[in-house]
């Protein structure tokens, strides 16, 4: 509860800060719409030559695009800005100020920066998702909806833990921004069902850079093609990564000596 209140406070601060730059709203709207337009036009080109893509019907791929935007929005809203700031603050020593705060430092670094305009991607993602579901005309039972939400949460936890591990590397290596670039390139591949990719790339996108859990798996849950093994696997992976990233974070903190502050 206290954590929610804290998040609310950071969110308010960010809204107040950004309200001075209202033009950013329109820039982000333009960029998000453009990015969505590319995805949709790309699908249109491909489905003008094929009826299904690796067994996925057009509206199912559309649902996947919705999930891709939704999760991408969450990453851009809070995960990425927080982790980038963490890396920055380890380098210039300002992490000291966070560590002196009475709350859990991992929690604070994870939520303290919110890029509110990225909410746009989340809204657009939800919109696309809703449109895809209507077009699929398929009854979504309570169970399926629960599976979808569960997989989305597991995916978000996996992505968050993965980013935290990458960002925590900065306690040992000062320059790690480039590793984040790798993630961004790999996330692009999540626009498409990972089942399309040849084995080595599919494993890479599932276990090395776990993009598949964030996009393909929730979309599969929604379109009712997910076995319980994958679901259990995703939940187990989320829990394991969450613990590993926590352990890693504490190991990193022990190394931290406040470089120059």
């Amino acid at each position: 509860m206290k954590y929610l209140r804290l998040f609310g406070a950071f969110l308010r601060a960010s809204i107040v800060g950004e309200a001075a730059y209202r033009i950013n709203f329109f820039i982000q709207l333009f960029e998000s719409l453009l990015s969505l337009g590319i995805s949709l036009a790309g699908l249109a080109v491909i489905f003008s030559h094929a009826d299904t893509l690796g067994g996925w019907r057009p509206d199912e791929v559309l649902a996947l695009v919705g999930v891709y935007f939704l999760v991408g929005g969450v990453i851009g809203l809070v995960i990425q800005p927080g982790m980038e700031q963490l890396i920055e603050s380890v380098r210039n020593g300002t992490l000291d100020f966070t560590l002196t705060k009475p709350e859990d430092a991992q929690f604070i670094v994870s939520i303290r920066r919110v890029e509110i305009w990225k909410l746009m991607d989340i809204v657009l993602g939800l919109g696309v998702l809703a449109a895809a579901l209507v077009r699929l005309g398929q009854e979504i039972g309570v169970l399926q909806a629960a599976e979808f939400v569960g997989m989305l949460l597991a995916g978000a936890v996996i992505i968050y833990s993965f980013w935290l591990i990458l960002a925590t590397l900065s306690f040992w290596f000062v320059r790690v921004e480039n590793i984040l670039v790798i993630f961004q390139s790999m996330y692009e591949a999540g626009r498409w069902p990972v089942s399309l990719y040849p084995g080595w790339l599919r494993y890479g996108l599932t276990f090395i850079v776990p993009v598949a859990f964030a996009t393909t798996v929730p979309a599969e849950a929604l379109t009712g093609r997910l076995g319980w093994e994958t679901m259990l696997g995703a939940v187990a992976m989320a829990l394991v990564l969450l613990v590993v990233s926590r352990v890693f974070w504490r190991a990193g903190l022990r190394r931290y000596s406040g470089a120059s502050a």
Partner: protein
């Protein structure tokens, strides 16, 4: 002319050492350059396999060859000058470049070429590896291979000049993200990145032929794939030269206007 050659030799000496410092970053940035075409390669291979082994005039192996060559052509011609320019102007660092007695575009060209001296061998290795994995094969005529070099060079020059001109939008606004993104969308669709141009709806194909985009990426790729007749190649070469002239003129006009509005922000 001699002064220019000497200038470039000196530039290359410094930029090569500089770029070599960034070798790890350069390799990491390549991941995106490889992955994007690779994803489209895979998507189109799946489409092709599910519709009887070909889409339009492209077989599954053709798609592999198309995207692997595209990867290399894109690597040779790409620039990051938009980000660089925005940063320079936002941070005011551009003032120093203006003090030098030569046009700043020359050091940018040297930067760009140096980075590619380092990354291109790696890219060619990756392309060869992917060619084996995806069973790509090409059989271009000897004249097409010979023409590929000048066509690729022209593509690089035109793309560099156009993007250098576009980058100067930063003179007027330091929020150039939206402009750049619009440009990338046009490149994605009209330069043949999202699909070979012949698979696009015909209005888009027509637009691609009139605008510069096709000549920057798709044209060299099609040439090396052996899909162009000598006549079509000459027409393409003419289009490239025409765009080269247009882009030089544009660059000069925008540069003069931009310089007049330049006030170093932040420095």
């Amino acid at each position: 002319m001699k002064a220019m050659v000497e200038l470039y030799i000196q530039q290359f000496k410094t930029t090569l050492t500089m770029m070599f410092q960034y070798r790890a970053s350069l390799l990491i940035w390549m991941i995106g350059q490889v992955l994007e075409p690779l994803v489209y390669l895979i998507v189109w291979s799946v489409v092709s396999a599910s519709s009887g082994g070909s889409v339009g005039s492209y077989t599954t192996a053709d798609f592999a060859a198309y995207y692997i060559i595209l990867m290399v052509v894109n690597q040779v011609t790409y620039t990051w000058i938009m980000y660089e320019f925005e940063y320079r102007i936002r941070e005011g660092g551009f003032s120093f470049a203006l003090l030098k007695p030569v046009h700043p575009i020359h050091s940018d060209i040297a930067d760009n070429v140096s980075s590619k001296v380092i990354t291109l061998p790696v890219m060619i290795l990756i392309a060869a590896g992917l060619g084996v994995v995806f069973h790509a094969s090409i059989s271009p005529a000897p004249w097409a291979v010979a023409m590929f070099i000048p066509v690729l060079l022209l593509a690089f020059l035109v793309r560099f000049l156009l993007e250098w001109t576009l980058a100067q939008a930063a003179f007027w606004t330091t929020r150039v993200g939206a402009i750049n993104q619009l440009y990338f969308v046009l490149m994605l669709f009209l330069a043949g990145q999202i699909a070979p141009l012949t698979l696009l709806p015909s209005p888009l194909q027509a637009a691609a032929a009139v605008l510069p985009f096709r000549w920057l990426i798709s044209f060299p790729v099609e040439l090396l794939l052996g899909r162009l007749s000598p006549g079509e190649t000459l027409v393409g070469l003419g289009a490239q030269v025409a765009w080269l002239v247009v882009s030089i003129v544009l660059m000069r006009i925008v540069w003069r206007a931009g310089l007049r509005t330049y006030t170093a922000v932040g420095a």
